[in-house]
Amino acid sequence: MPRALTFSVIAICLAGCADIEPWVKPYERAALADPIMASTRDAIAAEYLHHVHEVREGARGAVGSAGGGCGCN
């Protein structure tokens, strides 16, 4: 029964997701598409600084962004 309930909830969520209307339209994403809004403008420089931090600190991981995310094109 709990498993059936779980699948039902997931199915309802996915059905709801399929109908999501983007609240920021593609033509409204000019600011998000500006290169200054990139998580890292220059990968070569960002990777190096991550390396410095990993070498000099005891913590690591989860740095950087999941991706562009703005779908500007």
Binding site: L14, D42, A62, G69
Partner: protein, 393 residues
């Protein structure tokens, strides 16, 4: 093979999320970068070049290659107190290749990395997938990496530098599991949430470091090799936000929490500001703060020999904090030559101050034994410079 629970969860999430995805993504631009980097701090200088080239083939494939070199002079303080001020030079060369394949709104990525130095060889393979969804307002990314390292110890036998036959070849196995979500919230705001779990197994210590412990009489330090656990599991979760201000400038902030099975817990926060000026200039500045607790088996000076089963004196595992100030300037040129789309010249400078709460300067008590255990706490600062030229073609 039984997969760890988090990895099963992200695979499940990937399957579910891909079921509701539609089409279209963007590959990175064709671009080449050449950088000179330099780290100067704590008597250590590390510098070298890095070259990165990325090129698209058709509308669906993009490949990149990177060659990176670290030239190291002098050992860090947690090694140098054992060897004195002897001449030390080391070089690490890293080569990496990656490929992205775009299909609809999904981007599949693979990368291979090889890193070589005289006493350490590391090979890493990574796979990732990212997917745009919900009207391209959301990007979900999943990734997995596996690395296998070979560790040696360099010694000088009859004046010839070679691998220590007693130490032999030791291995380390690293695995990384990543999940990230990036979300457009408004016309001016993007937020991201990233999680990464890593497992490390094998020789996790450093053959050149040592611990020190008080002699039974309590008046001198005894030196012994470090003893590390063979496994370590780390978890890190980070949030970040980027906001486009009412004028053309961006404000960025991030926070990360880290914890591992060695007892280290860390908080890292950063805030940054990017400001273009006229058509060609971009100025940026940021402040970053990191603080962490010590590992359970770390001590600057153990109370007695064989005090516990695991013992380390790695300053990276000490209670410490650092503050970083960053300043950067970029000058961009449109069509500098007919065959180039754009070019830029960039200079980034970072000043980092490290402060340790339980790591002392052991060299001080070597010259004055009455200072044993009461040496000044170690502090150091570093200047990190990155100068690079980029071209888009």
């Amino acid at each position: 093979m039984r997969l760890p629970v988090p990895y099963c969860a992200v695979l499940l999430a990937a399957g579910l999320l891909r079921a509701v995805a539609a089409s279209a993504g963007v590959l990175p631009e064709d671009r080449a970068d050449a950088m000179y980097h330099r780290y100067d701090g704590g008597d250590v200088t590390v510098d070298g070049p890095s070259i990165l080239v990325r090129k698209k083939f058709g509308e669906q494939v993009s490949v990149s290659a990177n060659y990176y070199v670290d030239m190291v002079t002098s050992a860090s303080i947690d090694v140098k107190w054992l060897s004195g001020a002897s001449e030390y030079k080391e070089e690490r060369a890293q080569t990496s290749f990656s490929a992205d394949y775009l299909r609809g709104k999904s981007t599949y990525s693979i990368s291979l990395i090889n890193s070589k130095e005289s006493d350490y060889v590391a090979n890493t393979a990574s796979f990732g997938i990212s997917e745009d969804m919900f009207g391209d307002l959301t990007t979900v990314s999943l990734g997995f990496s596996r690395a296998k390292d070979e560790v040696y110890k360099n010694v000088s036998i009859n004046g010839v530098k070679q691998h220590d036959p007693v130490y032999g070849k030791r291995r380390v196995d690293h695995r990384s599991y990543r999940l990230g979500i990036s979300q457009v919230l408004t016309k001016h705001l993007i937020v991201g949430l990233n999680y990464e779990a890593q497992t490390h197994q094998g020789e996790l210590g450093n053959p050149y470091r040592a611990i020190r412990s008080l002699s039974l009489a309590g008046n001198q330090a005894l030196i012994a090799p470090e003893i590390y656990p063979n496994t370590r599991t780390t978890n890190a979760v980070a949030i970040d936000a980027r906001y486009y201000l009412p004028y053309r400038a961006a404000l960025k902030g991030s926070y990360r929490f880290f914890a591992d099975t060695w007892g280290v817990a860390a908080h890292t926060a950063e805030i940054g500001y990017t400001h273009p000026w006229r058509a060609a200039w971009i100025f940026e500045g940021s402040y970053r703060h990191h603080r962490q607790s010590a590992a359970d088996f770390y001590s600057d000076l153990f109370p007695r020999p064989n005090f516990q089963n695991f013992m380390a004196r790695d300053r990276n595992l000490a209670t410490m904090q650092d503050h970083s100030l960053h300043a950067g300037v970029s000058y961009e040129l449109e069509k500098p030559w007919p065959w180039l789309e754009k070019g830029s010249v960039n200079l980034f400078i970072d000043r980092i101050q490290f402060r340790f709460a339980d790591f002392r300067d052991a060299t001080r008590s070597q010259s004055d034994p009455t200072l044993l255990g009461r040496e000044p706490l170690h502090r150091e600062s570093a200047l990190v410079a990155r100068f690079f030229v980029s071209v888009w073609f």
